[in-house]
Subunit: 403 residues, 2 copies
């Protein structure tokens, strides 16, 4: 309920709720985040040309409200994607109903969906559940936990992250939760993340910060290279901490951006670790590229290469595949100047393999976290990405005929 | 032996040989194609920045000789890649030895290797075997068969293709063989194809034709998206058919190009069908794109999507994944105007799924060949690619620790 004292780990100014409204058979499938009043908001969305109805509506709402929002409503079990005009009407109906419940304009409601594609979404189930859901919302940690559970689909565990920093003598808190589906279930699609803070900031400052941070966190993870139709990250800032407004270029802004990155990186790595069938979380570091952008391209090519990822599943220090993947990324470099490391061991230099103890390296690659690095010897560009290994279990899960 | 009468299926003017020289344990690992005299030649090579020594040398030789060649020598079992200056010396040593054997300049020798990366190639094994190999070569079909066997690595079967056409009242023959490794074995890499014809044509005409045809055949197949460091396609034209020189823009050129495409397509599809763990050969057709190039990008994104390929392994008519893959290809289109077909059945139109008998469609997808098609409704661009499905068996093969 609004006005209630927040648990110390959560930012002030928000309450949360979750329930089962009947889209899924048993599990909670509907959640809300409600700000005590209208707050600053920013969002980033899937770059897929095929965008789900809630993505289209939420982008439109953020534009119309100039980055002001009152609440977020999320359903799982149905992505409301490739559902045509009826799908957009269902998202709009959801927003209108929640707006009436809260007494705010519909454009201040942000809507997200995740689940099956191509199945009509029955908005009445959501609408019917909203009065009890909003009435029962609280600012307590348990409510946030339930919200974080309600947004999950094929995830095996809930993903949450918390951090705080001091700004203008006040403690500013940031909390986030995510669902993913880095590896996506048959006809399931989506990475969703919700971030709330009691910092005070303008929507445009939040938006710029969120895009920068997402590039180094949510956009730096890859599981199977498939971008979902519903991906959405939302950041709401209540200002309830009493800290002064974040000013562009200030120390406070820098500290808040670092805190935001910390929270987002934790959620992003949780998603990779929960990838279907994944046994390893893999960091791919690229140095010595002609530019950061080029480094990113090389990192992405390595991190999505099925040959590299299957070798990782076998704990095989197969540096030849890493070098060959780098070579096809479209980035100019001289292989004779490149160096490759696997879990910190130099395995290739000057265009030839270096002697290394393969059995020992294999043993170290059996650990959960594996680091790969390549220096192209072609400049100062750097990039870092995270991925997981590619197991037979992943294929089994994704090849199973839908039932 | 030169001068011997060619078997009717093979072009005149070439002889072939294969042997075991000791790079591999037991299987034939060395093959030669020798033209009766110097002939026109063209080649296309991997675009990977990491290029094996034989690729570097053969490109250089074709440039220095202005597209004239006498022979091709190929070893399997060792890719001679990431082997530094010693690797280049080994390829050069091979070329020089064969040139001495045949009495031609070294620049007329084209060298190819396929097999393990990063292991020094012992050229003396090849050099020691060359005298007997060249002396025993014949123009007979069995010799061509043995050559086609000697170039294989993890392939489960030999890949050959033959065709002929009439040019200027003469029968012109074209024969080809390939190895691939569309799906690549641990540390094995390479698609190799060798094409011989008794047509008469200039190197530049051959080169232009080969590039065009390869774009629609060898470059239109994808198994795991990983480009090898050794990929090479060579085309040699002896002119021994007695047919007139192919002239640019002539009917004869058109007919020969069609024949070349037929031969190359057969080899390309053989490679896809032999992909590690593959159970299906899949044609991906894209229509209605803003341009042919855009269509190609969409086709490639669909054909390399792990989610699409695992769905194919499960015979799952998962059109949502096809549409979502198209959506992330970076090509502008309106999903509401797109249509998707699976094995000829319309499954999605106007931004919503069409009703279809899912069990029946699943049944038809159990067949070996599967066709997917998408019309983006955004122009006249078209493209076609071939791929295979992504099975747990592929992961098992590629994740197994090298021994």
């Amino acid at each position: 309920m609004t006005g209630q004292k927040s648990n110390s780990i959560l930012p002030q100014g928000f309450s949360f709720g979750a329930t089962h409204c009947g889209i899924r058979k048993k599990r909670a499938d509907l959640g809300v985040i409600v700000a005590d009043g209208t707050v600053s908001a920013a969002g980033i969305f899937t770059t897929n040309r095929v965008k789900a109805a809630p993505v289209l509506l939420t982008r439109r709402h953020l534009g119309a409200s100039k980055g002001r929002a009152r609440a977020v409503v999320v359903n799982s079990g149905n992505a409301n994607c490739v559902t045509g005009p009826a799908g957009l009407a269902a998202s709009r109906r959801t927003a209108t109903a929640l707006a009436r419940e809260l007494g705010c304009p519909p454009k201040e409601i942000l809507v997200c969906s995740t689940g099956v594609i191509g199945v009509p979404l029955n908005a009445e189930r959501i609408v019917g559940a909203l009065p009890v859901l909003t009435a029962g919302r609280t600012a307590r940690r348990e409510a946030f936990d339930r919200f974080a559970e309600a947004i999950l689909t094929t995830d095996t565990r809930s993903k949450q992250s918390y951090a705080s920093c001091r700004i203008g003598g006040k403690t500013v808190r940031l909390a986030g939760c995510a669902k993913g589906a880095g590896m996506i279930h048959p006809q399931m699609a989506t990475m969703l993340a919700f971030l709330v803070t009691d910092a005070a900031a303008s929507p445009s400052l939040l938006g710029g910060m969120l895009r920068q941070v997402a590039d180094r966190t949510f956009n730096a993870i890859t599981v199977d290279g498939d971008t979902s139709t519903n991906d959405t990250v939302l950041l709401l800032a209540s200002g309830a901490s009493g800290a002064p407004m974040l000013r562009p270029g200030s120390d406070g802004e820098r500290r808040f951006a670092e805190t935001l990155e910390k929270v987002c990186r934790k959620l992003a790595l949780d998603i990779v670790a929960d990838g279907e069938g994944a046994r390893h979380v893999v960091e791919v570091e690229v140095r010595g590229a002609p530019s950061d952008r080029a480094a990113r391209r090389v990192a992405e090519t390595i991190a999505t290469s099925p040959l590299v990822k299957t070798a990782l599943a076998g704990a095989d220090p197969n540096w030849g595949r890493i070098l060959a993947a780098a070579g096809r990324a479209g980035v100019p470099f001289d292989p004779a100047r490149a160096r490759v490391w696997v879990v910190g061991r130099l395995v290739c230099r000057g265009g030839v393999p270096t002697p290394f103890d393969e059995a020992e390296l294999h043993g170290r690659m059996l650990e959960r976290e594996i680091g790969l690095a390549i220096d192209l010897g072609a400049g100062d560009g750097r990039a870092r990405m995270w991925t997981c290994d590619f197991t037979a279990e992943y294929v089994r899960i994704n090849a199973s005929y839908r039932t």
